[in-house]
Subunit: 236 residues, 2 copies
DNA sequence: AAGAATAACTTGTATATACAAGTTGTTTTC
DNA sequence: GAAAACAACTTGTATATACAAGTTATTCTT
């Protein structure tokens, strides 16, 4: 009754947290499968299920006879973490301004992607963010998601958490994949102002649709990215 | 002795082939797990392992109580097929000009990526291509690959074959993954001329490193893309 | 001391089984 | 005839077990 979260999932979440918070260092070994079994009171298939999920996330790398090697991040969803051309460290100190708190709206008249009936009916949650590296704006994103089964979502704080993290943690929504289109454009005045661009400086323009484990629940984002001092980085 | 390929892998390969060749249509259901068990003489965990791999590939989508839905693929490597904003059909009629036939050179002094010792020693093969959609140039790429064990490579024709196809077919080199960095830039005069750009039109600039199944064999590309009428499209 | 064999670990593959939970069509009930 | 109950499917989770295969450190042999 009370135990709707499966065991392998719990172990996965725990290990994931420990990897990301640095309990296990990059390059070191996770406890062996048998150890994890005895410690957490489960059998090997269950433990392996959890580890498989971590492998899929790219957080560990398994080697037969050796163990599970902690791999810290690319942590990209598809393409999309920011790598500073000088140092990639700055990423972790990314600050976020919420320009528009999540609010319920109608879908825009013209939309870059096609919506399902369910999505159309549900209405959409809209939010805008401006993100800073070294106190300079580099990343402006506009997000649309369907208003399906997300209790209290509009009152949550996203200040320093990623949107994905909130969805994963509180609503068990995980990103399965997606598609995106990229262009180089000369931005309009509004974008130019927001990103504090120099005259003639082009921006990366990205339209994305992310599919999730919840049927009919997709996340739509439009991104404007100042690539003067940073680049969009992706590994695959 | 002779049976080094695991059963789940065989089943995976078989189902994969059947999905890609159209034995199962998009949206239809795969045989149930129990059916697959009896047909192929294995147990459910083994069958499920095979199906898990297909899910990871994005070739099927499982639904509890329902079955495994065939999902045909985008099947891109990372980002990088071109989708015309008007019609994506034009892609197939992409023409290629070889501006610089493959030739052996030294590695550039400054290079966007770090090279291994092996790669440095081997020298590099260099080639440039300009690619057209509807007889207009949209895509200019500069490629560097290490000169490791590629007999007769510099004398091959790449006119209408993809570089990857030649590598795969003739040298058993397959792409495992890679990383890339993207920017929006204002191009210099040379690029502007090559891509026949209007004044002030920015281009997408991409640096890529592709890793292959051959240890120490990576492919490095620099791409300039005119995104006025087309977009870079990727799914993941 | 150097190399070969071994033992003790690790993950990989596979079987056999059980019940939970979601979906769908059929049967029963009203 | 319509709604509720049921049965028969589907995939999801989990246990218990066994052996194969790769890695590493130790022990034995030379």
């Amino acid at each position: 009754m009370e135990n709707q979260v499966p065991q392998y999932r719990k172990l996965y979440e725990l290990l994931r947290k420990h990897i990301l918070t640095g309990v296990y260092e990059e390059g070191s070994l996770l406890p062996s499968e048998n150890e994890l079994c005895t410690v957490h009171g489960m059998t090997r298939p269950t433990v392996r299920h959890a580890l498989d999920t971590l492998v899929k996330d790219g957080l560990i790398l398994k080697k037969q006879g050796k163990g599970s090697i902690v791999r810290k991040p690319p942590q990209n969803i598809g393409i999309l973490s920011i790598a500073g051309t000088a140092s990639a460290i700055g990423v972790r100190y990314l600050k976020t301004d919420i320009l528009q708190k999540p609010e319920i709206r109608n879908w825009p008249e013209t939309f870059a992607f096609e919506l399902s009936e369910l999505e159309k009916e549900s209405g959409c949650i809209y939010m805008e963010r401006l993100r800073y590296v070294d106190n300079k704006p580099v990343f402006y994103d506009v997000n649309h998601l369907p208003n399906i089964n997300l209790p209290r979502f509009t009152s949550r704080s996203f200040e320093n958490k990623s949107l994905f993290e909130v969805l994963r943690k509180h609503y068990q929504v995980s990103i399965l994949g997606g598609e995106q289109r990229l262009k180089a454009i000369i931005p309009d005045e509004q974008i130019k102002k927001l990103l504090q661009l120099k005259k003639g400086q082009p921006v990366l323009y990205i339209e994305r649709k992310l599919t999730t484990n919840k049927e009919g629940f997709n996340i739509y984002s439009t991104i404007y990215f100042n690539s003067e001092k940073h680049t969009i980085f992706g590994s695959f």
